[in-house]
Protein backbone atom coordinates (compact mmCIF):
# COMPACT_ATOMS: atom_id res chain seq x y z
CA UNK A 1 0.00 0.00 0.00
CA UNK A 2 1.26 3.42 -0.93
CA UNK A 3 1.18 5.33 2.34
CA UNK A 4 2.27 8.51 0.62
CA UNK A 5 -0.71 8.47 -1.73
CA UNK A 6 -3.05 7.64 1.14
CA UNK A 7 -1.74 10.46 3.32
CA UNK A 8 -1.80 12.83 0.38
CA UNK A 9 -5.43 11.90 -0.36
CA UNK A 10 -6.33 12.32 3.30
CA UNK A 11 -4.68 15.71 3.42
CA UNK A 12 -6.86 16.91 0.55
CA UNK A 13 -9.94 16.13 2.65
CA UNK A 14 -8.39 16.93 5.98
CA UNK A 15 -11.26 18.48 7.91
CA UNK A 16 -12.85 15.20 8.98
CA UNK A 17 -9.59 13.42 9.82
CA UNK A 18 -8.30 16.45 11.75
CA UNK A 19 -11.50 16.64 13.79
CA UNK A 20 -11.38 12.93 14.59
CA UNK A 21 -7.66 13.11 15.40
CA UNK A 22 -8.39 16.01 17.74
CA UNK A 23 -11.14 13.97 19.35
CA UNK A 24 -8.74 11.05 19.77
CA UNK A 25 -6.10 13.37 21.25
CA UNK A 26 -8.49 14.85 23.78
CA UNK A 27 -9.87 11.40 24.60
CA UNK A 28 -6.41 10.01 25.20
CA UNK A 29 -5.40 12.93 27.39
CA UNK A 30 -8.61 12.73 29.41
CA UNK A 31 -8.86 8.96 29.68
CA UNK A 32 -5.21 8.36 30.55
CA UNK A 33 -5.26 10.92 33.34
CA UNK A 34 -8.64 9.69 34.44
CA UNK A 35 -7.39 6.11 34.56
CA UNK A 36 -4.43 7.23 36.60
CA UNK A 37 -6.66 9.12 39.02
CA UNK A 38 -8.89 6.05 39.33
CA UNK A 39 -5.87 3.88 40.03
CA UNK A 40 -4.65 6.40 42.61
CA UNK A 41 -8.00 6.41 44.34
CA UNK A 42 -8.37 2.64 44.38
CA UNK A 43 -4.79 2.25 45.59
CA UNK A 44 -5.37 4.83 48.28
CA UNK A 45 -8.51 3.06 49.41
CA UNK A 46 -6.62 -0.23 49.63
CA UNK A 47 -3.48 1.03 51.37
CA UNK A 48 -2.60 -0.48 54.77
CA UNK A 49 -3.37 1.69 57.78
CA UNK A 50 -1.30 0.14 60.54
CA UNK A 51 -4.50 0.13 62.62
CA UNK A 52 -6.48 -2.91 63.79
CA UNK A 53 -9.55 -1.37 62.13
CA UNK A 54 -11.90 -4.36 62.35
CA UNK A 55 -11.71 -4.63 66.15
CA UNK A 56 -11.99 -0.98 67.13
CA UNK A 57 -14.89 1.31 67.87
CA UNK A 58 -15.08 4.84 69.11
CA UNK A 59 -17.52 6.61 71.35
CA UNK A 60 -18.30 10.27 71.83
CA UNK A 61 -19.99 11.74 74.91
CA UNK A 62 -21.35 15.25 75.26
CA UNK A 63 -21.56 16.98 78.64
CA UNK A 64 -24.69 18.97 79.42
CA UNK A 65 -24.17 19.75 83.13
CA UNK A 66 -22.15 22.93 83.86
CA UNK A 67 -20.80 21.20 86.95
CA UNK A 68 -19.60 18.20 85.00
CA UNK A 69 -16.09 17.14 86.10
CA UNK A 70 -14.53 16.24 82.81
CA UNK A 71 -11.11 15.09 84.01
CA UNK A 72 -12.57 12.83 86.68
CA UNK A 73 -15.07 11.45 84.22
CA UNK A 74 -12.31 10.64 81.70
CA UNK A 75 -10.26 8.78 84.28
CA UNK A 76 -13.34 6.88 85.46
CA UNK A 77 -14.42 6.06 81.91
CA UNK A 78 -10.96 4.81 80.95
CA UNK A 79 -10.83 2.62 84.06
CA UNK A 80 -14.25 1.23 83.20
CA UNK A 81 -13.51 0.67 79.50
CA UNK A 82 -10.12 -0.94 80.11
CA UNK A 83 -11.68 -3.28 82.64
CA UNK A 84 -14.40 -4.55 80.32
CA UNK A 85 -14.03 -8.20 79.34
CA UNK A 86 -12.72 -8.58 75.83
CA UNK A 87 -11.24 -5.07 75.69
CA UNK A 88 -7.55 -4.95 74.79
CA UNK A 89 -7.15 -1.24 75.42
CA UNK A 90 -9.14 1.96 75.56
CA UNK A 91 -7.68 5.43 75.15
CA UNK A 92 -8.86 8.98 74.96
CA UNK A 93 -7.95 11.21 72.05
CA UNK A 94 -8.97 14.34 70.23
CA UNK A 95 -10.34 12.39 67.28
CA UNK A 96 -10.20 9.20 65.38
CA UNK A 97 -7.79 8.35 62.63
CA UNK A 98 -9.33 7.43 59.28
CA UNK A 99 -11.40 10.61 59.26
CA UNK A 100 -10.57 13.74 57.30
CA UNK A 101 -10.96 16.30 60.08
CA UNK A 102 -7.74 16.70 62.06
CA UNK A 103 -5.45 19.03 63.91
CA UNK A 104 -2.39 19.76 61.76
CA UNK A 105 0.83 21.54 62.75
CA UNK A 106 4.19 22.21 61.08
CA UNK A 107 7.20 20.32 62.41
CA UNK A 108 10.92 20.52 61.80
CA UNK A 109 14.21 19.28 63.21
CA UNK A 110 15.42 22.78 64.05
CA UNK A 111 13.87 26.18 64.72
CA UNK A 112 15.53 27.54 61.57
CA UNK A 113 13.89 24.95 59.45
CA UNK A 114 10.52 25.89 60.86
CA UNK A 115 10.81 29.31 59.22
CA UNK A 116 11.40 27.75 55.88
CA UNK A 117 8.81 26.25 53.57
CA UNK A 118 10.36 22.89 54.22
CA UNK A 119 8.53 22.48 57.52
CA UNK A 120 6.83 19.10 57.64
CA UNK A 121 3.08 19.34 58.24
CA UNK A 122 1.68 16.47 60.30
CA UNK A 123 -1.52 15.52 62.08
CA UNK A 124 -1.50 15.70 65.82
CA UNK A 125 -3.28 13.07 67.88
CA UNK A 126 -3.55 13.59 71.62
CA UNK A 127 -2.86 10.27 73.26
CA UNK A 128 -2.36 8.56 76.57
CA UNK A 129 -0.33 5.49 77.50
CA UNK A 130 -3.03 3.16 76.11
CA UNK A 131 -3.25 4.82 72.71
CA UNK A 132 -0.83 2.51 70.86
CA UNK A 133 -2.63 -0.59 72.10
CA UNK A 134 -6.04 0.98 71.51
CA UNK A 135 -5.21 1.34 67.82
CA UNK A 136 -3.04 -1.74 67.56
CA UNK A 137 -0.02 0.31 66.38
CA UNK A 138 3.36 -1.32 66.19
CA UNK A 139 6.14 0.49 68.01
CA UNK A 140 9.38 -0.17 66.12
CA UNK A 141 11.76 2.12 68.02
CA UNK A 142 11.93 3.80 71.41
CA UNK A 143 9.16 3.46 73.96
CA UNK A 144 5.54 4.23 74.70
CA UNK A 145 4.37 7.16 76.85
CA UNK A 146 4.37 6.63 80.57
CA UNK A 147 1.15 7.57 82.36
CA UNK A 148 3.02 10.18 84.40
CA UNK A 149 3.90 12.19 81.32
CA UNK A 150 0.35 12.41 80.00
CA UNK A 151 -0.73 16.01 80.59
CA UNK A 152 -4.11 16.67 82.17
CA UNK A 153 -6.74 18.28 80.00
CA UNK A 154 -6.15 21.90 79.13
CA UNK A 155 -8.82 24.56 79.10
CA UNK A 156 -9.13 24.34 75.36
CA UNK A 157 -7.19 23.13 72.33
CA UNK A 158 -5.08 26.29 71.78
CA UNK A 159 -3.92 26.33 75.40
CA UNK A 160 -3.24 22.60 75.27
CA UNK A 161 -1.14 23.04 72.14
CA UNK A 162 0.58 26.06 73.62
CA UNK A 163 1.65 24.03 76.63
CA UNK A 164 2.74 21.24 74.33
CA UNK A 165 4.49 18.17 75.77
CA UNK A 166 8.02 17.11 76.62
CA UNK A 167 7.95 14.09 74.39
CA UNK A 168 6.21 12.78 71.27
CA UNK A 169 5.87 9.59 69.27
CA UNK A 170 6.01 9.88 65.50
CA UNK A 171 5.41 7.60 62.53
CA UNK A 172 8.24 5.90 60.66
CA UNK A 173 7.30 7.80 57.52
CA UNK A 174 7.81 11.08 59.34
CA UNK A 175 10.97 9.84 61.03
CA UNK A 176 12.42 8.86 57.65
CA UNK A 177 11.62 12.27 56.22
CA UNK A 178 12.88 14.36 59.11
CA UNK A 179 15.68 12.13 60.32
CA UNK A 180 17.06 10.48 57.19
CA UNK A 181 20.03 9.08 59.14
CA UNK A 182 17.54 6.59 60.60
CA UNK A 183 17.78 7.48 64.25
CA UNK A 184 14.90 9.70 65.36
CA UNK A 185 14.58 8.52 68.94
CA UNK A 186 16.09 10.96 71.40
CA UNK A 187 16.16 13.79 68.87
CA UNK A 188 14.32 17.07 69.39
CA UNK A 189 11.32 17.84 67.22
CA UNK A 190 10.23 21.46 66.90
CA UNK A 191 6.62 22.36 66.44
CA UNK A 192 5.53 25.51 64.65
CA UNK A 193 2.99 28.10 65.81
CA UNK A 194 3.92 27.56 69.46
CA UNK A 195 7.69 27.36 68.90
CA UNK A 196 8.24 24.50 71.30
CA UNK A 197 10.26 21.36 71.04
CA UNK A 198 9.80 17.80 72.27
CA UNK A 199 11.96 14.74 72.32
CA UNK A 200 11.01 11.92 70.05
CA UNK A 201 10.66 8.94 72.36
CA UNK A 202 9.11 6.43 70.01
CA UNK A 203 8.47 5.55 66.39
CA UNK A 204 5.46 3.56 65.20
CA UNK A 205 5.74 1.51 62.05
CA UNK A 206 2.60 2.82 60.38
CA UNK A 207 -0.34 5.04 61.22
CA UNK A 208 -2.48 6.17 58.33
CA UNK A 209 -4.21 9.27 59.64
CA UNK A 210 -6.63 9.36 56.73
CA UNK A 211 -6.86 7.60 53.37
CA UNK A 212 -5.34 10.29 51.19
CA UNK A 213 -3.41 9.96 47.90
CA UNK A 214 -0.57 12.13 49.20
CA UNK A 215 1.55 10.00 51.50
CA UNK A 216 2.81 12.97 53.49
CA UNK A 217 -0.68 13.97 54.54
CA UNK A 218 -1.71 10.40 55.20
CA UNK A 219 1.33 9.06 57.03
CA UNK A 220 2.81 12.04 58.88
CA UNK A 221 1.36 11.78 62.36
CA UNK A 222 2.52 12.91 65.76
CA UNK A 223 1.23 11.51 69.05
CA UNK A 224 1.30 13.97 71.92
CA UNK A 225 0.84 12.74 75.51
CA UNK A 226 -2.10 14.77 76.74
CA UNK A 227 -5.72 14.26 77.59
CA UNK A 228 -7.73 16.33 75.14
CA UNK A 229 -9.63 19.34 76.46
CA UNK A 230 -13.25 18.75 77.51
CA UNK A 231 -15.97 18.84 78.28
CA UNK A 232 -16.90 16.33 75.58
CA UNK A 233 -15.17 12.96 75.77
CA UNK A 234 -13.85 10.84 72.98
CA UNK A 235 -12.64 7.26 73.47
CA UNK A 236 -11.12 4.67 71.20
CA UNK A 237 -11.70 1.07 72.27
CA UNK A 238 -10.02 -2.00 70.83
CA UNK A 239 -11.40 -5.43 71.56
CA UNK A 240 -10.33 -8.96 70.99
CA UNK A 241 -11.34 -10.29 67.58
CA UNK A 242 -15.06 -11.09 67.40
CA UNK A 243 -16.01 -9.14 70.54
CA UNK A 244 -16.33 -5.65 69.12
CA UNK A 245 -20.07 -5.56 68.50
CA UNK A 246 -21.02 -7.04 71.86
CA UNK A 247 -18.70 -4.64 73.66
CA UNK A 248 -20.10 -1.75 71.67
CA UNK A 249 -23.63 -2.68 72.69
CA UNK A 250 -22.64 -2.87 76.32
CA UNK A 251 -20.77 0.44 76.23
CA UNK A 252 -23.67 2.12 74.50
CA UNK A 253 -25.97 0.89 77.24
CA UNK A 254 -23.80 1.57 80.30
CA UNK A 255 -21.15 4.22 79.71
CA UNK A 256 -23.10 7.47 79.64
CA UNK A 257 -25.05 6.72 82.81
CA UNK A 258 -21.96 5.99 84.85
CA UNK A 259 -21.41 9.71 85.26
CA UNK A 260 -24.36 12.10 85.46
CA UNK A 261 -24.64 15.20 83.32
CA UNK A 262 -23.83 13.82 79.90
CA UNK A 263 -25.16 11.69 77.11
CA UNK A 264 -23.66 9.38 74.52
CA UNK A 265 -23.94 11.20 71.22
CA UNK A 266 -22.31 8.70 68.91
CA UNK A 267 -20.73 5.27 68.91
CA UNK A 268 -19.39 3.71 65.76
CA UNK A 269 -17.14 0.92 64.56
CA UNK A 270 -13.90 2.29 63.13
CA UNK A 271 -14.47 -0.09 60.22
CA UNK A 272 -17.52 1.99 59.27
CA UNK A 273 -15.65 5.27 59.72
CA UNK A 274 -12.83 4.02 57.50
CA UNK A 275 -15.30 2.75 54.89
CA UNK A 276 -17.05 6.13 54.80
CA UNK A 277 -13.70 7.87 54.37
CA UNK A 278 -12.99 5.59 51.43
CA UNK A 279 -16.44 5.95 49.96
CA UNK A 280 -15.43 9.25 48.35
CA UNK A 281 -12.54 7.57 46.58
CA UNK A 282 -14.52 4.55 45.50
CA UNK A 283 -17.51 6.58 44.31
CA UNK A 284 -15.32 9.08 42.48
CA UNK A 285 -13.47 6.17 40.87
CA UNK A 286 -16.80 4.79 39.68
CA UNK A 287 -17.93 8.18 38.38
CA UNK A 288 -14.61 8.72 36.61
CA UNK A 289 -14.86 5.23 35.10
CA UNK A 290 -18.34 5.95 33.77
CA UNK A 291 -17.19 9.27 32.30
CA UNK A 292 -14.13 7.55 30.80
CA UNK A 293 -16.26 4.88 29.14
CA UNK A 294 -18.61 7.57 27.86
CA UNK A 295 -15.72 9.58 26.37
CA UNK A 296 -14.35 6.43 24.74
CA UNK A 297 -17.80 5.58 23.37
CA UNK A 298 -18.16 9.06 21.87
CA UNK A 299 -14.75 8.69 20.24
CA UNK A 300 -15.70 5.24 18.96
CA UNK A 301 -18.81 6.76 17.40
CA UNK A 302 -16.71 9.58 15.94
CA UNK A 303 -14.24 7.23 14.29
CA UNK A 304 -16.99 4.95 13.04
CA UNK A 305 -18.92 7.96 11.78
CA UNK A 306 -16.00 9.29 9.77
CA UNK A 307 -15.24 5.86 8.33
CA UNK A 308 -18.92 5.27 7.48
CA UNK A 309 -19.12 8.71 5.88
CA UNK A 310 -16.02 7.94 3.83
CA UNK A 311 -17.49 4.65 2.67
CA UNK A 312 -20.72 6.34 1.59
CA UNK A 313 -19.02 9.18 -0.25
CA UNK A 314 -16.47 6.90 -1.87
CA UNK A 315 -18.83 4.18 -3.07
CA UNK A 316 -18.04 4.76 -6.71
CA UNK A 317 -14.34 5.15 -6.01
CA UNK A 318 -14.33 1.88 -4.09
CA UNK A 319 -16.19 0.15 -6.91
CA UNK A 320 -13.57 1.49 -9.31
CA UNK A 321 -10.74 0.26 -7.11
CA UNK A 322 -12.34 -3.16 -7.03
CA UNK A 323 -12.83 -3.07 -10.82
CA UNK A 324 -9.16 -2.34 -11.50
CA UNK A 325 -8.04 -5.22 -9.30
CA UNK A 326 -8.32 -4.38 -5.61
CA UNK A 327 -9.26 -7.39 -3.52
CA UNK A 328 -11.59 -7.09 -0.56
CA UNK A 329 -8.49 -7.33 1.58
CA UNK A 330 -7.02 -4.23 -0.10
CA UNK A 331 -10.14 -2.21 0.67
CA UNK A 332 -10.23 -3.42 4.27
CA UNK A 333 -6.57 -2.59 4.66
CA UNK A 334 -7.05 0.83 3.09
CA UNK A 335 -9.64 1.83 5.65
CA UNK A 336 -7.80 0.28 8.57
CA UNK A 337 -4.51 1.98 7.67
CA UNK A 338 -6.24 5.29 7.01
CA UNK A 339 -7.92 5.06 10.37
CA UNK A 340 -4.71 3.96 12.05
CA UNK A 341 -2.93 7.05 10.71
CA UNK A 342 -5.70 9.30 12.03
CA UNK A 343 -5.75 7.66 15.46
CA UNK A 344 -1.95 7.62 15.62
CA UNK A 345 -1.70 11.32 14.88
CA UNK A 346 -4.39 11.89 17.49
CA UNK A 347 -2.57 9.63 19.93
CA UNK A 348 0.69 11.50 19.39
CA UNK A 349 -0.94 14.84 20.13
CA UNK A 350 -2.89 13.17 22.93
CA UNK A 351 0.34 11.99 24.57
CA UNK A 352 1.59 15.57 24.70
CA UNK A 353 -1.75 16.75 26.07
CA UNK A 354 -1.86 13.93 28.60
CA UNK A 355 1.63 14.71 29.86
CA UNK A 356 0.80 18.41 30.14
CA UNK A 357 -2.46 17.63 31.95
CA UNK A 358 -0.64 15.14 34.18
CA UNK A 359 1.97 17.73 35.16
CA UNK A 360 -0.74 20.29 35.88
CA UNK A 361 -2.71 17.79 38.00
CA UNK A 362 0.37 16.67 39.90
CA UNK A 363 1.40 20.22 40.74
CA UNK A 364 -2.12 21.42 41.54
CA UNK A 365 -3.24 18.46 43.62
CA UNK A 366 0.12 17.21 44.87
CA UNK A 367 -0.27 13.92 43.01
CA UNK A 368 2.53 11.76 41.68
CA UNK A 369 3.47 12.33 38.03
CA UNK A 370 1.63 10.36 35.37
CA UNK A 371 3.69 7.19 34.73
CA UNK A 372 4.70 6.66 31.11
CA UNK A 373 3.28 3.16 31.00
CA UNK A 374 -0.16 4.71 31.35
CA UNK A 375 0.49 6.61 28.13
CA UNK A 376 1.70 3.47 26.36
CA UNK A 377 -1.38 1.58 27.53
CA UNK A 378 -3.55 4.52 26.46
CA UNK A 379 -2.09 4.55 22.96
CA UNK A 380 -2.55 0.79 22.61
CA UNK A 381 -6.13 1.14 23.85
CA UNK A 382 -6.81 3.93 21.34
CA UNK A 383 -5.38 1.80 18.53
CA UNK A 384 -7.59 -1.11 19.50
CA UNK A 385 -10.58 1.21 19.84
CA UNK A 386 -9.83 2.69 16.41
CA UNK A 387 -9.55 -0.76 14.90
CA UNK A 388 -12.85 -1.87 16.44
CA UNK A 389 -14.52 1.35 15.32
CA UNK A 390 -13.52 0.91 11.70
CA UNK A 391 -14.19 -2.82 11.30
CA UNK A 392 -17.87 -2.52 10.38
CA UNK A 393 -17.53 0.37 7.89
CA UNK A 394 -14.42 -1.24 6.38
CA UNK A 395 -16.25 -4.54 5.89
CA UNK A 396 -19.10 -2.65 4.27
CA UNK A 397 -16.60 -0.93 1.99
CA UNK A 398 -15.00 -4.23 1.05
CA UNK A 399 -18.40 -5.65 0.16
CA UNK A 400 -19.07 -2.95 -2.45
CA UNK A 401 -19.44 -4.64 -5.81
CA UNK A 402 -16.93 -3.80 -8.51
CA UNK A 403 -19.92 -3.41 -10.81
CA UNK A 404 -20.67 -0.19 -8.92
CA UNK A 405 -18.01 1.38 -11.11
CA UNK A 406 -20.25 1.06 -14.16
CA UNK A 407 -23.61 1.49 -12.44
CA UNK A 408 -23.08 4.88 -10.84
CA UNK A 409 -22.36 7.05 -13.79
Amino acid sequence: MEIRALVSAMWRNRTGPILVAAQVAITLAVVVNMAYLIQQRLETAAKPTGIDINNIFWVHLEAIDPEYNYEAAVRADLDYLNALPGVIAAATSNGTPQAFYALGLPFAVSPEQLDKEGAHVARVFMANEHYLDALGLELIAGRNFESSVVAPPAQDVPSGIAAWAPEVIITKYMADKLFPDGNAVGKPLYVGLVNRSSTVVGVVKLLQGAPMPDEQFALSNVLVPMIPPGPDSFYIVRTEPGRRDATMARVEKELADRVPGRFLSRIEALEKTAAQARFTFRSSAIILSVIGVFVLAVTLVGITGLAAFNVTTRTRQLGTRRAIGARKFHILRYFIVENWIITSVGALVGCALALAAGIKLSTTYALPRLPLYFLVAGVVAIWILGLLAVVVPARRAASISPATATRTV
Binding site: R316, G325, F329
Partner: protein, 238 residues
Protein backbone atom coordinates in the same frame (compact mmCIF):
# COMPACT_ATOMS: atom_id res chain seq x y z
CA UNK B 1 -9.95 -14.31 -26.43
CA UNK B 2 -13.51 -14.13 -25.14
CA UNK B 3 -15.92 -16.97 -25.57
CA UNK B 4 -19.38 -16.74 -24.06
CA UNK B 5 -21.94 -19.46 -24.53
CA UNK B 6 -25.59 -19.13 -23.51
CA UNK B 7 -24.83 -16.62 -20.80
CA UNK B 8 -27.87 -15.57 -18.80
CA UNK B 9 -28.11 -12.90 -16.15
CA UNK B 10 -31.25 -12.17 -14.16
CA UNK B 11 -31.74 -9.31 -11.72
CA UNK B 12 -34.31 -10.19 -9.11
CA UNK B 13 -36.23 -8.03 -6.69
CA UNK B 14 -39.17 -9.03 -4.49
CA UNK B 15 -41.63 -8.25 -7.23
CA UNK B 16 -39.87 -8.42 -10.54
CA UNK B 17 -37.31 -10.43 -12.49
CA UNK B 18 -35.33 -8.68 -15.17
CA UNK B 19 -33.54 -10.82 -17.72
CA UNK B 20 -30.60 -8.63 -18.59
CA UNK B 21 -28.87 -11.28 -20.70
CA UNK B 22 -30.62 -14.25 -22.35
CA UNK B 23 -28.74 -17.10 -23.99
CA UNK B 24 -26.01 -14.65 -24.88
CA UNK B 25 -23.25 -16.15 -26.93
CA UNK B 26 -20.32 -14.24 -28.36
CA UNK B 27 -16.83 -15.04 -29.45
CA UNK B 28 -14.24 -12.29 -29.67
CA UNK B 29 -10.90 -12.92 -31.33
CA UNK B 30 -7.60 -11.60 -29.97
CA UNK B 31 -6.87 -8.11 -31.29
CA UNK B 32 -10.46 -7.53 -32.33
CA UNK B 33 -12.23 -4.18 -31.78
CA UNK B 34 -15.89 -4.87 -31.10
CA UNK B 35 -18.51 -2.20 -30.61
CA UNK B 36 -21.52 -3.15 -28.50
CA UNK B 37 -24.59 -1.13 -29.29
CA UNK B 38 -28.18 -1.14 -28.17
CA UNK B 39 -30.83 0.99 -26.58
CA UNK B 40 -30.83 1.84 -22.90
CA UNK B 41 -31.70 -1.22 -20.87
CA UNK B 42 -30.83 -3.59 -23.69
CA UNK B 43 -28.12 -5.30 -21.60
CA UNK B 44 -24.97 -3.64 -22.96
CA UNK B 45 -23.53 -2.68 -19.61
CA UNK B 46 -24.52 -5.99 -18.06
CA UNK B 47 -22.65 -7.74 -20.84
CA UNK B 48 -19.64 -5.54 -20.16
CA UNK B 49 -19.83 -6.24 -16.42
CA UNK B 50 -20.00 -9.98 -17.03
CA UNK B 51 -17.20 -9.82 -19.58
CA UNK B 52 -15.07 -7.80 -17.18
CA UNK B 53 -15.78 -10.14 -14.25
CA UNK B 54 -17.38 -7.24 -12.43
CA UNK B 55 -20.55 -9.26 -12.03
CA UNK B 56 -21.34 -12.94 -11.86
CA UNK B 57 -23.79 -14.55 -14.25
CA UNK B 58 -26.51 -17.10 -13.68
CA UNK B 59 -26.09 -19.55 -16.52
CA UNK B 60 -23.86 -20.48 -19.43
CA UNK B 61 -20.11 -20.64 -19.76
CA UNK B 62 -17.46 -17.99 -20.17
CA UNK B 63 -13.88 -18.63 -21.20
CA UNK B 64 -11.36 -15.80 -21.09
CA UNK B 65 -8.14 -16.63 -22.88
CA UNK B 66 -9.13 -20.27 -22.65
CA UNK B 67 -9.68 -20.16 -18.91
CA UNK B 68 -13.11 -21.00 -17.56
CA UNK B 69 -13.95 -18.01 -15.37
CA UNK B 70 -17.45 -19.14 -14.41
CA UNK B 71 -16.71 -20.31 -10.90
CA UNK B 72 -13.73 -18.34 -9.72
CA UNK B 73 -13.28 -16.95 -6.23
CA UNK B 74 -13.56 -13.23 -5.63
CA UNK B 75 -9.80 -12.96 -5.20
CA UNK B 76 -9.14 -14.82 -8.41
CA UNK B 77 -11.59 -12.62 -10.31
CA UNK B 78 -9.84 -9.56 -8.87
CA UNK B 79 -6.49 -10.88 -10.02
CA UNK B 80 -7.74 -11.51 -13.56
CA UNK B 81 -9.34 -8.06 -13.71
CA UNK B 82 -6.07 -6.57 -12.56
CA UNK B 83 -3.79 -8.46 -14.91
CA UNK B 84 -5.81 -9.16 -18.04
CA UNK B 85 -8.49 -6.49 -18.28
CA UNK B 86 -8.33 -2.73 -18.57
CA UNK B 87 -11.44 -0.66 -17.87
CA UNK B 88 -12.47 2.68 -19.32
CA UNK B 89 -15.65 4.21 -17.93
CA UNK B 90 -17.98 6.84 -19.28
CA UNK B 91 -17.50 8.97 -16.15
CA UNK B 92 -13.70 8.40 -16.23
CA UNK B 93 -13.82 7.05 -12.64
CA UNK B 94 -10.50 8.54 -11.65
CA UNK B 95 -9.94 8.68 -7.90
CA UNK B 96 -10.46 12.36 -7.14
CA UNK B 97 -8.05 12.55 -4.19
CA UNK B 98 -5.12 11.07 -6.09
CA UNK B 99 -3.08 12.85 -8.71
CA UNK B 100 -2.87 11.43 -12.22
CA UNK B 101 0.36 9.57 -11.52
CA UNK B 102 -1.12 7.85 -8.46
CA UNK B 103 -4.33 7.08 -10.32
CA UNK B 104 -2.40 5.27 -13.02
CA UNK B 105 -0.30 3.62 -10.34
CA UNK B 106 -3.29 2.14 -8.47
CA UNK B 107 -3.79 -1.10 -10.48
CA UNK B 108 -0.04 -1.73 -10.58
CA UNK B 109 0.07 -1.43 -6.81
CA UNK B 110 -2.57 -4.08 -6.44
CA UNK B 111 -0.37 -6.28 -8.62
CA UNK B 112 2.54 -5.74 -6.19
CA UNK B 113 4.78 -4.69 -9.02
CA UNK B 114 8.24 -3.33 -8.02
CA UNK B 115 8.41 0.47 -7.77
CA UNK B 116 10.91 0.93 -10.59
CA UNK B 117 8.85 -1.15 -12.99
CA UNK B 118 5.71 0.73 -11.99
CA UNK B 119 7.36 4.08 -12.58
CA UNK B 120 8.53 2.98 -16.00
CA UNK B 121 5.08 1.81 -17.00
CA UNK B 122 3.29 4.85 -15.61
CA UNK B 123 5.50 7.35 -17.38
CA UNK B 124 5.26 5.37 -20.61
CA UNK B 125 1.46 5.18 -20.38
CA UNK B 126 1.08 8.87 -19.56
CA UNK B 127 3.44 9.77 -22.39
CA UNK B 128 1.42 7.69 -24.78
CA UNK B 129 -1.81 9.51 -23.91
CA UNK B 130 -0.05 12.89 -23.94
CA UNK B 131 -0.28 13.65 -20.23
CA UNK B 132 3.39 13.53 -19.20
CA UNK B 133 3.25 17.14 -18.12
CA UNK B 134 0.08 16.64 -16.09
CA UNK B 135 1.04 13.70 -13.90
CA UNK B 136 1.02 15.74 -10.67
CA UNK B 137 -2.34 17.26 -11.43
CA UNK B 138 -5.53 16.20 -9.74
CA UNK B 139 -8.36 14.91 -11.94
CA UNK B 140 -10.37 18.01 -11.13
CA UNK B 141 -7.61 20.13 -12.67
CA UNK B 142 -7.96 18.41 -16.04
CA UNK B 143 -10.52 18.70 -18.84
CA UNK B 144 -12.91 15.83 -19.55
CA UNK B 145 -10.81 14.66 -22.49
CA UNK B 146 -7.64 14.74 -20.43
CA UNK B 147 -9.34 12.81 -17.63
CA UNK B 148 -10.45 10.14 -20.07
CA UNK B 149 -6.93 9.96 -21.45
CA UNK B 150 -5.65 9.51 -17.90
CA UNK B 151 -8.21 6.73 -17.45
CA UNK B 152 -6.95 5.12 -20.64
CA UNK B 153 -3.39 5.38 -19.32
CA UNK B 154 -4.56 3.59 -16.18
CA UNK B 155 -6.23 0.92 -18.32
CA UNK B 156 -3.20 0.25 -20.52
CA UNK B 157 -0.35 0.58 -18.02
CA UNK B 158 -0.81 -2.99 -16.85
CA UNK B 159 -0.59 -4.32 -20.45
CA UNK B 160 -4.03 -5.97 -20.38
CA UNK B 161 -5.10 -8.44 -23.04
CA UNK B 162 -8.49 -6.82 -23.34
CA UNK B 163 -9.89 -3.34 -22.71
CA UNK B 164 -13.53 -2.91 -21.85
CA UNK B 165 -14.78 0.59 -22.54
CA UNK B 166 -18.20 1.67 -21.34
CA UNK B 167 -19.32 4.67 -23.38
CA UNK B 168 -15.79 6.11 -23.29
CA UNK B 169 -16.84 9.22 -25.25
CA UNK B 170 -20.25 9.59 -23.66
CA UNK B 171 -19.27 12.62 -21.62
CA UNK B 172 -17.07 14.28 -24.22
CA UNK B 173 -17.58 16.73 -27.07
CA UNK B 174 -16.95 15.76 -30.70
CA UNK B 175 -13.34 16.86 -30.80
CA UNK B 176 -12.45 15.10 -27.58
CA UNK B 177 -14.37 12.00 -28.70
CA UNK B 178 -12.36 11.88 -31.86
CA UNK B 179 -9.10 12.06 -29.91
CA UNK B 180 -10.21 9.27 -27.61
CA UNK B 181 -11.33 7.07 -30.52
CA UNK B 182 -8.00 7.58 -32.24
CA UNK B 183 -6.25 6.62 -29.05
CA UNK B 184 -8.34 3.48 -28.67
CA UNK B 185 -7.77 2.52 -32.27
CA UNK B 186 -4.05 2.97 -31.83
CA UNK B 187 -4.10 0.77 -28.73
CA UNK B 188 -6.10 -1.82 -30.62
CA UNK B 189 -3.61 -1.62 -33.45
CA UNK B 190 -0.97 -2.64 -30.92
CA UNK B 191 -2.82 -5.94 -30.46
CA UNK B 192 -5.05 -5.22 -27.47
CA UNK B 193 -8.58 -6.51 -27.82
CA UNK B 194 -11.19 -3.82 -27.24
CA UNK B 195 -14.86 -4.16 -26.43
CA UNK B 196 -16.58 -0.80 -26.50
CA UNK B 197 -20.14 -0.08 -25.48
CA UNK B 198 -21.49 2.93 -27.34
CA UNK B 199 -24.70 4.60 -28.39
CA UNK B 200 -22.97 6.32 -31.25
CA UNK B 201 -23.39 4.45 -34.57
CA UNK B 202 -20.58 6.40 -36.22
CA UNK B 203 -18.12 5.37 -33.55
CA UNK B 204 -19.41 1.81 -33.70
CA UNK B 205 -18.59 1.70 -37.40
CA UNK B 206 -14.94 2.37 -36.59
CA UNK B 207 -14.74 -1.03 -34.88
CA UNK B 208 -14.11 -4.27 -36.71
CA UNK B 209 -17.47 -5.52 -35.69
CA UNK B 210 -20.65 -4.09 -34.25
CA UNK B 211 -22.77 -6.29 -32.00
CA UNK B 212 -26.26 -4.92 -31.52
CA UNK B 213 -28.10 -6.11 -28.42
CA UNK B 214 -31.85 -6.05 -27.95
CA UNK B 215 -33.48 -7.31 -24.73
CA UNK B 216 -30.36 -9.12 -23.58
CA UNK B 217 -29.86 -10.99 -26.86
CA UNK B 218 -27.63 -10.36 -29.84
CA UNK B 219 -29.88 -8.93 -32.49
CA UNK B 220 -27.46 -8.09 -35.27
CA UNK B 221 -23.77 -8.30 -36.01
CA UNK B 222 -22.13 -6.02 -38.56
CA UNK B 223 -18.58 -6.51 -39.80
CA UNK B 224 -16.66 -3.40 -40.80
CA UNK B 225 -13.09 -4.56 -41.01
CA UNK B 226 -10.66 -7.29 -40.24
CA UNK B 227 -8.39 -7.78 -37.31
CA UNK B 228 -4.86 -6.57 -37.84
CA UNK B 229 -2.35 -8.87 -36.26
CA UNK B 230 -0.35 -7.31 -33.50
CA UNK B 231 2.97 -7.91 -35.20
CA UNK B 232 1.77 -6.36 -38.43
CA UNK B 233 0.22 -3.43 -36.58
CA UNK B 234 3.37 -2.86 -34.63
CA UNK B 235 5.35 -2.88 -37.87
CA UNK B 236 2.92 -0.46 -39.48
CA UNK B 237 2.98 1.93 -36.56
CA UNK B 238 6.77 1.88 -36.50
Amino acid sequence: MIEMNNISKVFRTDVVETHALRAFSLRVEPGEFVAITGHSGSGKTTFLNVAGLLEEFDGGTYHLEGQDVSRLSDNERSRIRNEKIGFIFQGFNLIPDLNIYDNVDAPLHYRRMPAAERHKRITAALERVGLSSRMKHLPSQLSGGQQQRAAIARAICGSPRVILADEPTGNLDTTMSEQIMELLQSINAGGTTILMVTHNPELAQRAHRQVHIVDGRIDQIHHFGTVQRASAAAGASA
